[in-house]
């Protein structure tokens, strides 16, 4: 350490150029030495750079410009953002809808996934697969394909399943237009997304819970753990904390990226923009109106919201 430092100091005294060259040369020998590792990495790195890193930079750049694909992008400063937050009422509404939606499906879906995974981990191994399949399958069905069922279930005439039973039982007096009424659009989307929310996070919880070391529970019972809930809070939860963090991060992303279900059930644009989310707004501007600069500003806002929330969760759950 000290010798390396002194050599840097002397070399800067003599010639700063050689010092930089020394650092570069070191990098070069390192790269040459690790070249086999880099060969393994190259295909992934090229794809990752081209379709993830470059797009992040480009998005930020485009969000400060006017770009309609035909002409070259023109730098216009922050006016996209000003337009977005000051003049675009529909965007503000979309942010509201997205948050309203995410604040329900995020926590509820997350807790449901954990609770169900925990319940499954309590039953004998031979029965576990049946329940896992029942809870996990909805999340792997295509939102497009299953919409045939939801559209029938929530149909606005008296032939819709829910309307039929509600009328028969006397809860409603006339059929309710679930997919057209502004008040019911968000709740319907929430129900459908909750149904589909037992995804990768659920599997992570399930696997984590099955691998909590048995002796932890034995040690717990010696230390005076009597009830199942004590076991859950003092032993199980801390043991699966890393999986909880992984699940939480995926949950934040999925609950903010609501798009498919909304488009399938209520369309773009939805009645009075009641089902309009940040991503539908983005899609609208990018691929229907082709205002790529403005749409990029929307993308950057959503990106920052996701990263910000996930940083918070990392700070909260990531600590030991």
């Amino acid at each position: 350490m000290s010798s390396a430092q002194s050599s840097v100091v002397t070399s800067t005294n003599i010639d700063s150029h050689t010092a930089r060259k020394g650092w570069l040369a070191q990098l070069w020998t390192d790269l040459k030495q690790d070249r086999v590792s880099w060969f393994f990495l190259i295909p992934f790195l090229i794809l990752f750079t081209l379709f993830t890193i470059v797009p992040i930079v480009t998005s930020v750049y485009l969000s400060f410009s006017y770009y309609n694909i035909i002409e070259a992008p023109r730098f216009i400063g922050v006016s996209n953002y000003r337009l977005l937050f000051v003049d675009d009422d529909i965007f503000l509404k979309a942010i509201g809808t997205t948050f309203k939606f995410a604040f329900v499906t995020g926590p509820v879906g997350y807790m449901m996934a954990f609770l169900l995974a925990w319940l499954i981990s309590q039953i004998p191994i031979k029965y576990r697969f049946f329940y896992t399949l029942c809870f996990y399958t909805p999340s792997i069905t295509s939102a497009t394909a299953i919409s045939v069922v939801w559209v029938y279930l929530f149909a606005g005439d008296r032939k819709g399943l829910i309307n039929f039973w509600a009328l028969k039982l006397g809860i409603l007096h006339e059929p309710y237009l679930y997919l057209q009424n502004v008040n019911s659009i968000v709740p319907v989307i929430i129900i459908v997304s909750l149904w589909m929310s037992m995804g990768i996070g659920f599997l992570a919880f399930l696997a984590g819970l099955q691998n909590v070391p048995r002796d932890l529970y034995e040690a717990g019972s010696i230390d005076g753990v009597k009830y199942k809930w004590q076991e859950l809070i003092y032993i199980t939860l801390p043991a699966v904390k890393p999986q909880l963090l992984f699940g939480a991060i995926l949950q934040v992303v999925t609950s903010l990226q609501i798009f498919d279900i909304s488009v399938q059930l209520v369309g773009i644009p939805s009645p009075l923009y009641a089902g309009h989310t940040i991503l539908t707004h983005l899609y609208d501007y990018a691929f229907i109106k082709f205002e790529m600069g403005y749409a990029s500003a929307i993308a950057v806002v959503l990106f920052l919201i996701m990263i910000g929330l996930n940083r918070l969760i990392f700070n909260w759950l990531g600590r030991d």
């Binding site: 990495l41 992934f44 794809l47 039953i123 939102a143 394909a145 963090l245 996701m306 600590r319």
Partner: protein
Amino acid sequence: MVRRIRLNVSGMIFYILLTAFALLMLAPLVYMASTAFKPTAELFLFPPRFFFINPTWKNFHQLLLVTGTSFVPFTRYIFNSVIVTIGIVTGGVLTSAMAAFPLAKHRMRFRSAIFNMVVFALMFSPLVLQIPQYLVISKVGLMNTYFAQILPYMAAPVGMFLMVQFARQIPDALLEAARIDGASEWKVFLIVVLPMLKPAIATFALFSFITAWNDPYPALVYATHEDMKSLPIAIQTIGGGAGVVARVGTLAAASFLMIIPTMLVFIITQRMVLQTMAHSGLKE
């Protein structure tokens, strides 16, 4: 003693509730399957019925018949989806398994920096990057090719993360033994690492299969020609747009056909998936 009482009384209630909830979750899928086999007379029955009475294959015939005479036959959409999905799954598995090896097992410069980038990529949806991705694809001239629908989705961060986490627990001694026997790194990878990564590969395959198979997005954005569109788009077209119930039987048959493969892949891979997910933990 305490355990036995629990099993008899509250255990019963617990099983009944859990099973009821499981069946409730399954109900929409069962309803779809049953609709796919309903004859026309039962489709518009009032009051609505959950199960079919006289099952028939007519809806499936209809699906191939009606769409067979149209501009692009239904089988073409299936073909497109199969090609794109196979491309994403095999390409993704190969590149990610290769990249996971040095990230987990080599001492190299920038190793943790690269891994941190993958973890960072977990924190946002790839959907926010769709505009620049679209620009890259259209500038390179890949629009309306299969590559456009495959390449952007191969380097999936979730799968890559799981792959690296899983590769970390391969014992170093095993790799060393192979090296001492004179194996090159490529040989170590092929003979030792790849077989041991099998559960992680199955998991990666499952997740990328599901996204690739279900996502209408790539074909919506990267294909302007009808004959390059995928299965989800075909189903939207049969359905006649958002909120419309048209040709219910045909639509249910198509949807049913679409969901079966994802279930099968999960049933085949589930044991290995749970093995992999045990290593999904994240720590600061």
